[in-house]
């Protein structure tokens, strides 16, 4: 068994004096989809941002592709092909859709831009008609697609998505999850996913983690976690209903 692509060990993160992560261990292997679920305020987004160096882990180590990135500046971490579509989407509002995608390609080879654009827009055909529109005027769902598309423009080795389904219509959620599944199956893209939509996200994942109050409390394959009573009771009510419909 080779070393995981992303390896988080004993990471503690603070906001001022408030401790948000209390010693987190988590791995993402090459070619895997890993889902992290947890209640509001558990520290999921904090973990994703800590991996990208903002805020920085006060203790513990984070390695990516065999490199210690714990103290690396955020932009240098991005250059190692670790892309994130962060919480809140963070589209550049006064840039066009095309410019947002160009920003996503900052660390990519400019010669490959046209081909990458075609590939990414092929995944979200919706965007192709809106390339000239300002990002800030897109609808929430369009912004989410753009956020994922932007992350893909760097040809990442690891794609981190923080609640990609937030606020989206079920049809769009399915499109996005399908896109993730295809990217993983066809291109072997590794994906680290944070989701409230626990049922779909765990079904999609090879492995999953449950975070409570800054600590990982459960881990296992996606299927195993779906069967666990504590996961069912705490995170799956909404998920069941969605399936029933």
């Amino acid at each position: 068994m080779s070393e995981p692509l992303l390896c988080v060990r004993g990471v503690k993160t603070y906001y001022g004096r408030v401790q948000a992560l209390k010693g987190v261990d988590l791995d993402v292997n090459d070619g895997e989809i890993v889902t992290l679920i947890g209640a509001n305020g558990a520290g999921k987004s904090t973990l994703m941002m800590t991996v990208c160096g903002n805020p920085r882990a006060r203790e513990g180590t984070i390695t990516f592709a065999g490199r210690d990135i714990t103290r690396l500046p955020t932009h240098e971490i991005a250059r190692l092909k670790l892309a994130q579509a962060p919480e809140g989407r963070r589209i550049f509002p006064r840039m066009t859709v095309l410019e947002n995608l160009q920003m996503g390609a900052t660390t990519a080879d400019p010669a490959e831009f046209d081909r990458d654009l075609e590939r990414v827009v092929g995944l979200f055909p919706y965007l192709s008609r809106r390339l000239g529109q300002r990002g800030g005027t897109l609808s929430g769902g369009e912004q989410q697609m753009l956020a994922i598309a932007r992350a893909l423009m760097s040809r990442p080795r690891l794609l981190m998505l923080d609640e990609p389904s937030l606020g989206l219509a079920p049809l769009i959620v399915r499109q996005i999850f399908d896109a993730i599944r295809r990217l993983n199956a066809e291109q072997g893209l590794s994906v680290f996913l944070v989701e409230q939509n626990a049922f779909h996200a765990l079904k999609l994942a090879h492995r999953g983690y449950v975070m409570v109050n800054g600590l990982i409390t459960l881990t296992g394959s996606g299927r195993e976690l779906l069967e666990r009573p504590e996961v069912k009771s705490a995170y799956l009510e909404g998920g069941r209903q969605q399936v029933a419909r």
Binding site: N54, A78, A83, R94, M95, M103, T106, G136
Partner: protein, 305 residues
């Protein structure tokens, strides 16, 4: 009428200089959210660099071509002033990023005082002058014995400003660097996440701001022929007024604001009283802040963020 046309020509010339300085205020404000109070003094320093370069070129190196010496003055001023602003950003502003909001502002006022005092001590408190470099002028028309003229100096200023604005617009709108600057302006955290070196982009912004101020400084020396250590303040505040009038953060706003301030100041001194021309500019600043705080080109925030 003829008199008015003449004042327009003069006003546009002055406005070009203000506009170039105003771009520096607006760019820096856009990217770091700080009014760079030292920017007027950076402009003043650049005028001194141009003047010193002129003296070295003509007295020591014996350069006689006016075009060549103007060009070299410009290059020297741009290089040297960019370096100074780069150092200022590095030592006075960057360490304060992320501390309380007023800290960089106070630091900027400190740098402003430092620069003007340094020039006062090293160059002396008196006006420094250069002989008129370019003297020819066109007579556009001459009726009623009032010749309306457009001097070579003015043409040079218009030409350089126009070319520079075009190049600058291209840089911001169409290049990777320009996109990186706009990204940092809109969301630094996200810019870093896509791989932009935010600190470096900010440093480059200060360098560009200084280079534009240096062009303004060189033209100022050429146009007026004198400069003193205190010349950072008043033109600085006027350019700042131009940036606020145009809508701080807006690049076209800075240019239009600069032209407007130049025109208002010139027309005011022509038709009312030259003694109160600075008051005119400062009144505009106050009036803008009260009635039009967004400025002419200030962005209406319609986006979802």
């Amino acid at each position: 009428m003829d008199y008015f046309v003449q004042q327009l020509i003069n006003g546009i010339t002055l406005g070009s200089i203000y506009g170039l300085i105003a771009i520096g205020y607006t760019m820096v404000f856009g990217i770091v959210g700080m009014v760079n109070f030292a920017h007027g003094d950076v402009f003043m320093v650049s005028a001194f660099v141009a003047l010193i370069a002129f003296l070295i070129l003509t007295t020591w190196l014996g350069v006689t071509s006016v075009a060549l010496s103007l060009f070299l003055m410009l290059v020297a001023a741009m290089l040297f002033t960019s370096l100074i602003n780069w150092v200022i950003e590095r030592v006075a502003y960057r360490p304060l990023r992320g501390s309380f909001r007023l800290a960089p502002l106070i630091s900027a006022i400190g740098m402003s005082i430092f620069l003007s005092n340094f020039v006062q001590v090293s160059q002396g408190p008196l006006n420094k002058s250069v002989p008129p470099l370019v003297q020819r002028e066109f007579v556009l028309f001459n009726r009623n014995n009032y010749p309306v003229t457009l001097s070579y100096k003015q043409l040079i200023i218009w030409g350089i400003t126009a070319v520079l604005l075009l190049a600058f617009w291209y840089l911001v709108a169409r290049t990777r660097l320009g996109r990186a600057q706009r990204a940092c302006e809109q969301d630094k955290k996200m810019a870093a996440l896509v791989g932009i070196d935010v600190d470096r982009t900010i440093a480059i912004t200060f360098v560009i701001a200084a280079a534009l101020a240096a062009v303004a400084g060189t033209m100022y020396v050429m146009y007026y022929g004198v400069v003193s250590f205190s010349d950072g303040f008043v033109p600085g505040v006027k350019a700042f007024t131009a940036a606020v009038l145009g809508g701080i953060g807006s690049l076209p706003g800075a240019v239009v604001g600069g032209l407007l301030i130049g025109l208002i100041e010139t027309l005011w001194s022509a038709y009312f009283s030259i003694d109160y021309k600075d008051v005119a500019a400062f009144s505009i600043l106050a009036i803008t802040l009260i009635f039009l705080p967004q400025g002419l080109f200030g962005r209406p925030d319609v986006e979802k963020v």
